[in-house]
């Protein structure tokens, strides 16, 4: 059961665990909007160490406004970056 729905505002956790992490550094601590709920997938952070990756983690596509990701962004206001993020990396934006 996915915790977030399309349209929800979320913030990526500001945390730096060691290991095989699929959450890019540049997006940690940034806020964006869920655009799509994908299936649940085995957690790659666990799979990388030969474990089963269960329970599966819902995966989301999250859209970030570029000017919220990079304070000095030089492009246009409507420019965005979409990143796939697993649920355990996301929190409600105002939490």
């Amino acid at each position: 059961m996915a915790r977030f729905l399309p349209g929800d505002s979320v913030t990526v956790r500001w945390t730096f665990p060691p290991g095989h992490i699929r959450t890019p550094y540049y997006i940690r601590g940034k806020s964006g909007e869920i655009t799509q709920v994908l299936d649940a997938f085995a957690n790659p952070e666990e799979l990388a160490f030969g474990r089963d990756g269960l329970p599966k983690q819902p995966l989301y596509r999250v859209r970030f406004a570029q000017n919220r990701v990079w304070p000095d962004y030089s492009g246009m206001v409507g420019d965005t970056i979409d990143v796939e993020l697993y649920e355990h990396w996301l929190e409600p934006e105002d939490a």
């Binding site: 890019p24 994908l38 299936d39 030089s74 409507g78 420019d79 965005t80 970056i81 979409d82 796939e84």
Partner: protein, 206 residues
């Protein structure tokens, strides 16, 4: 190992790769023949496969709708082998331009385009296209008007992305086969746009 040239000096990662693949073969996870067959299969995949998918989407509204809704299922329905990863197709229009990257490594829609170009795997492209996509696109000769939003897609997890380029003006009435020839690898990554024959640079966003 028969697939490597004799006498070459290995760097750290090549030595690691060799050691790991030899261990996996020794432990029976797969055979050397399996590995050679997989490398062969990978080398046979080229961007022409992706181009044929794009041309079909441009000429078959029903296929396009299915492709955007579920890229994996739509491609499998026309007989393409999609392998273990899933496909997400993002459509560029006259108001949105999509570009793909994998900032963490080199994830790429190999099932439709084969092996990624070296620049796609470079630190330069991976670090800059997320931060200053318009400047990077310009270096590829792709200048976008301010009215077109740039949407970068970072292949971080389980989906692989393919850009469905904006079909250029002046291609009405062209056959699917002729259209497919216009569609380049770079346009499906999103660093280039597709141009109609003889209309290079003309009012493509009009």
């Amino acid at each position: 190992m028969t697939i490597r040239s004799e006498g070459s000096v290995l760097d750290h990662y090549q030595a690691m790769e060799l050691a790991v693949s030899e261990l996996l073969i020794e432990k029976g996870y797969f055979t050397e023949e399996d590995m050679v067959a997989e490398i062969d299969a990978m080398a046979k995949r080229t961007p022409e496969i992706g181009a044929s998918v794009v041309a079909r989407a441009w000429t078959d509204a029903n296929f396009k709708e299915r492709l955007l809704a579920d890229g994996t299922a739509a491609c499998e329905s026309i007989g393409l082998d999609m392998g273990p990863t899933r496909l997400m197709v993002v459509e560029s229009t006259n108001t949105v331009h999509n570009v793909i990257v994998c900032t963490l490594c080199s994830c790429f829609p190999r099932m439709l385009m084969g092996i990624p170009p070296d620049w796609y795997k470079s630190e330069n492209y991976r670090s800059r296209v997320v931060r200053e996509p318009r400047a990077v696109l310009k270096e590829f000769g792709t200048e976008l008007p301010d009215s077109v939003a740039v949407r970068v897609h970072d292949n971080t997890a389980d989906m692989r992305y393919l850009v469905l380029p904006h079909r250029p003006k002046g291609t009405e009435g062209m056959s699917r086969e002729a259209l497919a020839k216009l569609v380049t690898r770079d346009s499906m990554i999103g660093v280039a746009i597709v141009e109609a024959p003889g209309r290079k640079g003309q009012d493509r966003y009009a």
